[in-house]
């Protein structure tokens, strides 16, 4: 019997009142791809931090490859061959890719390390993501979010002084489009069949089912199921997580929309002859491969309709960020303040914020979007990634905005909450709100009334009603050059 690459025994972690982990056992052996799933705040990122040494469990132990347990912390984990792609992007954006590699791999020393590193990265990057167009000598700050994620993944698979034994991937595909995600998963399968091991966290169950050899399900800080992949189906997995699968709620074409007033009308660009039009009560999807101008359009739309100088009219437009750290959360603030900031005017009398009103709104949305926290006055950073995203959602939906812009807002949101949010969106749209929704997930695109497909910064196709399908979207995404 081989010793496991890493063994976590009886690990418990608490953050103040929150018990993030309670007595978790987890062993990962060589040649294994462990899929880790669970609702937002189940404790997935916490166990990742325990394994990579960033967090010492308050009870229990971690050991690496049967090594003597003298060493602890990050250096022990790294010596044990553990590498980790974190949920939030964690490269230094002011450094070049090569310099980031130097920081990540202590083995890259000596004369000419830059050259060696560059060669290693270029090879690895095209191995994981064949056909990518990332400039490996660039500064990370100049890369798009997807490219950064690609680089970070490649850097962790890098073989500098010995190949990695365990690579942890915490929601690695959340900023990758489906094509890139598939390339990455293929590489994971190859890596595992070559004897490496992987811990993969994702809310997209298809990825877990197609890639893992074993699935561990977590709920409220504990492991509730751990079985080989063959014993799970999509449905049973969701049930194991504690959510109920609902039928797809596509209601068909809503013809009433054709007569309702237009709220957004972007004229056609001469290049493709297509513009964007949104009517009252419509849910508009923005599709296409990641990084082709969808975010830019949403940012421009918001800037256009809100003043940088005068107080904003919250009944006009609201924005849900996809990149929390960059343009979403206010890290010094409580959850409540993060939620209420979008609509302070309504909570105030004579420019003075009314605490009771604020608490009421907080309580209402905590319940509506199931934000997992004992107290809305706790700091926002005490929430798990997915729960932070829910707060951003609630911030926008709690305003009376006629138009809601959503920049891939479901990144890292668990399946149960997603379905709740979908039905909220539906209901709000029926009540007359317009949603412009950029998503990297095809399921979400298929929920929209009308879809615009982007390519190279412009709209290349408009699909409505029954034309909205995975096949048509993909066809439009790749057909741009021919047209």
């Amino acid at each position: 019997m081989t010793t496991p690459v890493v063994a976590v025994r009886g690990a418990s972690v608490t953050f103040g009142a929150v018990r993030a982990l309670s007595g978790v056992d987890l062993e990962i052996s060589a040649g294994e791809a462990v899929g880790l799933v669970g609702h937002n705040g189940a404790g997935k990122s916490t166990i990742v931090n325990v394994i990579n040494g960033g967090l010492t469990p308050h009870e229990g132990s971690v050991s690496y490859g049967g090594m003597a347990s003298g060493m602890t912390g990050v250096s022990a984990a790294r010596a044990g061959g553990v590498r980790c792609v974190f949920q939030e992007l964690s490269l230094c954006s002011n450094l070049s890719i090569v310099e980031n590699a130097r920081l990540m791999h202590a083995g890259l020393t000596g004369f000419g390390w830059r050259k060696r590193a560059l060669a290693l990265i270029e090879t690895k990057l095209s191995e994981v993501f064949p056909g990518n167009r990332v400039d490996c000598s660039a500064t990370v700050g100049t890369l798009s979010i997807a490219e950064r994620q690609m680089v970070e993944i490649a850097l962790n698979f890098l073989d500098v002084s010995g190949p990695p034994k365990l690579v942890i991937l915490d929601e690695p595909t959340s900023s990758l489009d489906s094509a890139l995600a598939e390339q990455m998963l293929a590489h994971v399968r190859k890596f595992v069949s070559g004897g490496g091991s992987v811990l993969l966290i994702s809310h997209i169950l298809g990825e877990i089912l197609s890639t893992s050899t074993r699935i561990v399900v977590m709920k409220d800080g504990g492991v509730v199921a751990a079985r080989p992949v063959s014993e799970f189906t999509g449905k049973s997995l969701v049930e194991a997580m504690g959510s109920v699968v609902r039928e797809k709620t596509r209601t068909g074409v809503r013809t009433v929309l054709d007569t309702s007033p237009t709220v957004i009308d972007i004229p056609a660009t001469p290049r493709t002859g297509l513009g964007l039009k949104a009517r009252k009560g419509e849910v508009i999807g923005l599709a296409g491969l990641g990084g082709h101008g969808q975010t830019a359009m949403l940012l421009a739309l918001f800037r256009e309709r809100s003043s940088n100088w005068l107080p904003h009219r919250p009944d006009e437009i609201a924005f849900v960020a996809g990149d929390r750290a960059l343009n979403g959360t206010f890290p010094l603030w409580s959850i409540l303040r993060n939620l209420s900031v979008g609509n302070l005017g309504a909570l105030s009398k004579r420019f003075s914020v009314h605490a009771a009103n604020e608490d009421a709104v907080g309580a209402e949305w905590k319940q509506k979007t199931a934000i997992r926290t004992p107290d809305m006055h706790l700091p926002i950073l005490s929430l798990s990634g997915g729960n932070q995203q829910k707060v951003l959602f609630a911030r926008a939906l709690s305003t009376p905005a006629r138009i809601v812009l959503m920049d891939d807002p479901m990144r890292g949101v668990d399946i149960g909450t997603k379905q709740d949010v979908y039905s909220i969106i539906r209901a709000e749209a029926e009540a007359g709100r317009t949603f412009i929704w950029y998503s990297t997930e095809m399921d979400e695109i298929c929920l929209c009334d009308r879809v615009y497909v982007f390519r190279d910064g412009a709209i290349v196709a408009e699909l409505s009603g029954d034309e909205v399908s995975e096949h048509n979207v993909l066809a439009a995404s790749f057909s741009g050059e021919a047209a």
Binding site: N308, A321, L326
Partner: protein, 315 residues
Amino acid sequence: MTIFNTALSKPWIWSWLAALATFVLTVLFTGGASTFSLGQATLTFAAFSVIVGLGQMLVITLGPGNVDLSVPATITLSGTLALKFMNTDASLILPGLLVAIGIGLGVGIANYGLIKLLRIPPIIATLSMSFLVQSLAIWSNRGLRIKPPDELSAFTTGMTLGIPNIAVVGLTLSVAIWWLLDRSIYGRWISAIGQSPFAARMAGIPVDGTRFLTYVICAVLAALCGYLLACFSGGAALNMGAEYLLMSIAVVVIGGSAVAGGNSNVPGIWGASLFMFLVVSMLNTYGFGAGIRLMLTGLIIIAVIIAASRRVSAR
């Protein structure tokens, strides 16, 4: 509610404790005889630091790199021009005040103009502006000291119920700024901008409008301080603001406001202002030479900030 609020209100405690300790040490030197008069002197002079410190605090709350270095020059210019305008005529006291406020408005607008239109980092923009403003002060009056109207001079040096009038003014302004910061929407806005301007913009906050207003408020408070200080000390001098460059920044940071922006408090400004005056008085009282005095001042500041830091990180 309570957990969050008490945690937030802690950073300023330390500047108050430090002020209290220095006060006691100073008073002990004379066996307690000087308690009352020292208290009055402290309140008076601390009030000037408070008035400029409040404005500086709002600016610093806007986030890293935001600081107004034109404060000293604004103090000088408003003192000079207001006194020149009033020319000891008591009937012009109010118009003189308006002149001072107008100067504050002008400098604030110009500061933000440079920051926004030319995209110059605030530190450098306000530094450049301070040179221009200082030149304006030199050119307008060439350093001649004009006396304030007697009534005004009596008011600024006078007392109400044993409390210096200047301290009353400072207190009133503090309450107003505290309301702005803690209760008003504007306070939420500057805090949000201080944490992440981009996120603030996407949350619908008028970032430019708020920042503009903040720089203007800061300059107006500095101008107000210049007006009062010139009247208090019997005339404007070209170097009257120089003291307040480091002072305005020091009282903000010693008072426990986060230098990284987003988080600030008004009581700390008072604690730190009282402390900054008292520490010099204490060291003067004990008769230390300039070298030792400077060194001790520095070490005490660092000690206070280290003591305060334990609280901050526990938050």
